[in-house]
Symmetry: C2
Subunit: 349 residues, 2 copies
């Protein structure tokens, strides 16, 4: 069945109209809004066929049709064409991104706000996955007796640090000794290959008593393990209340209840990004029932990847009602992603 098949044009028209109006689309309305060179009765036949194929459905007998999940899927896979953002929309986004501080955290948080505002839906920005990146430098810095700062430099110039407690009587020199040994032995190691044992065997030939050494190494280890923590910025939940799709209180409750578990959402996005087959600049789209998270049956996820250097990447995307303008949203995400990539390059020099 080709794209020019009239039935497919009808599906496309139904999706477009339904996205615009949020009302089930009937054969008559379809004829009026799109210039099909056939009568409404013919369209009714086509629609009956589309329904048999499982691409559209009726909310009730005497209503028009709405796309089913599979209908939306067909639409995004084969029918939709992505168009450019208007110059003014691009300028708006550019301006706001440019206003961000030269700092990854601030940039990502703001990017999330920008995206949720632009789309009128919920935006999702995740900090880069660092588990696979390597430790280039590690320094232990005495802050005051009993307290040290672990500074880690990872691939692509990402810096993480954490304050840890150390034995009170440890001297700066002793700390430096440990720091240097650890750094030497861990240098270049991927974060997720570093274990407590790697660490324990990294310091040899020292006068520092084992018990003290072990405490410091343990604290260092927790710092390393925490370095790859994934943060997630979910913004614009309140936007969803404005959408007619969630005007029923129950739906809205469900939705926001699920979205409040941002860690769960992030974990899920992480999962599906792993399954992704295309390159980094492709899109993961999950529609309705395809989303394996309770409470998001009426939503769609669209996510993609931004890059920090060559190897490190994070995710950015949108969660909205499945009745959304997929093409528009994708171009919005795409432009924000582009701006983030650019700005990160600038920050990291």
């Amino acid at each position: 069945m080709g794209l020019n098949d009239r039935k497919m044009q009808v599906l496309q028209a139904i999706v477009d109209d339904y996205v615009n109006t949020n009302e089930p689309v009937g054969s008559k309305a379809l004829i009026e809004r799109h210039k099909f060179p056939v009568s409404s009765a013919t369209l009714r036949n086509d629609m009956a066929e589309l329904e048999r194929m499982g691409l559209i459905e009726k909310p009730h007998t005497s209503a028009g049709r709405i796309p089913s999940d599979r209908g939306y899927r067909e639409y995004v896979d084969s029918l939709m064409k992505i168009d450019q953002l208007s110059a003014s929309e691009r300028d708006e986004i550019s301006r706001k991104i440019d206003e961000c501080l030269d700092e990854a955290g601030d940039l990502l948080k703001n990017a999330s706000s920008i995206l949720s505002e632009a789309t009128g839906m919920v935006s999702l920005v995740m900090t880069p996955r660092l588990a696979g990146s390597s430790l280039l430098q590690l320094k232990l810095l005495m802050i005051e007796p009993g307290k040290a700062l672990v500074v880690m430099v990872l691939s692509a110039g990402v810096v993480k640090d954490k304050v840890v407690r150390i034995p009170n009587f440890l001297t700066p020199d002793q700390l430096k000794e440990i720091s240097d040994s650890v750094e030497k032995s861990l240098n270049g190691k991927p974060l997720d290959e570093i274990t407590l044992i790697t660490l324990a065997t990294s310091v040899k030939e020292t006068q520092i008593p084992d018990s003290i050494l072990n405490q410091v190494l343990y604290e260092t280890y927790t710092a390393i393990k925490q370095a790859d923590r994934l943060d997630v910025f979910l913004e614009g939940e309140h936007n969803m209340l404005k959408l007619p799709d969630f005007s029923e209180l129950r739906r809205a409750q469900n939705l926001l209840g699920t979205l409040s578990h941002d860690g769960m959402v992030a974990g899920y996005v992480n999962e599906i990004e792993k399954e992704k087959t295309g390159g980094d600049d492709t899109y993961m789209i999950r529609i309705g029932q395809e989303i394996a998270l309770e409470g998001l049956e009426d939503c769609s996820f669209i996510t993609t990847t931004y890059k920090v250097g060559d190897t490190i990447s994070g995710n950015i995307g949108v969660i909205g009602p499945k009745r959304m303008d997929y093409s528009k949203v994708i171009s919005q995400i795409d432009f924000v992603r582009y701006k983030i990539n650019e700005k990160i390059k600038k920050i990291n020099g």
Copy 2:
């Protein structure tokens, strides 16, 4: 008019009942639920009087009465008595706080979740105000050519840092020279008294060219200025949708729309905390119209202070419908505050 005045008892009963049932309280219901030794007609007279005093009001002619903002105010100021949390509630909170990592950020974020879950409303936790605290140490650390880490140790052992860009050809020795001078001259200075000029005059007698020096100092300055940034954790917005008070979509939209500007909310709390007259362990309560933020007319704020060391403090509190169990919520906040104070002491050793 004393507390034992029957009219005040009636007000108290009305608030209690209305908080419990979310239904306007009539004279008959009042007689049934509370053993007033008078007839309903008498209570009607009292209620008419309370209405004249502006403490209660009628949603419409043929309904019972609900407390007005001033009625709630009278209630919290004079009538309410705070009771202890049950042992199981205390244990629940204790357990969850104990599970937090030994790290301020994690603690505060989790405290916010815990509080919102316990109260079923929106919790608000703000990171400590650092503007008034002093800079005890400042170090510039070379990370790689062109990139340095500014590490600041503030009063009460709070550590902040930031990655900054520096000229590519600056050597670690030069950086250390600058770092040492700056530290010497800023040592002990309150953060908010440090200006770019203070910094510029802190480094003397150096071979480093002015233009390079100035760039480093400027970056250091921005790091210092960012150190006192106030973060805010607002959690549990979705809880509000479950409350009958916000079952009208319009109200819910308004509320969540306003709460999405967390910076604005934080700023407002900051304001009102400044006006506070009592000690740190007292409560700021703002009811309905008393809140100068659009969209929160049907809410109340309850906030108080937690401490980091002797001088530094942050805020913790709850935003809920003004029809809330004030006494219960206050004891919940109080216990969470107590646990935070304890845990912070432990973290900072």
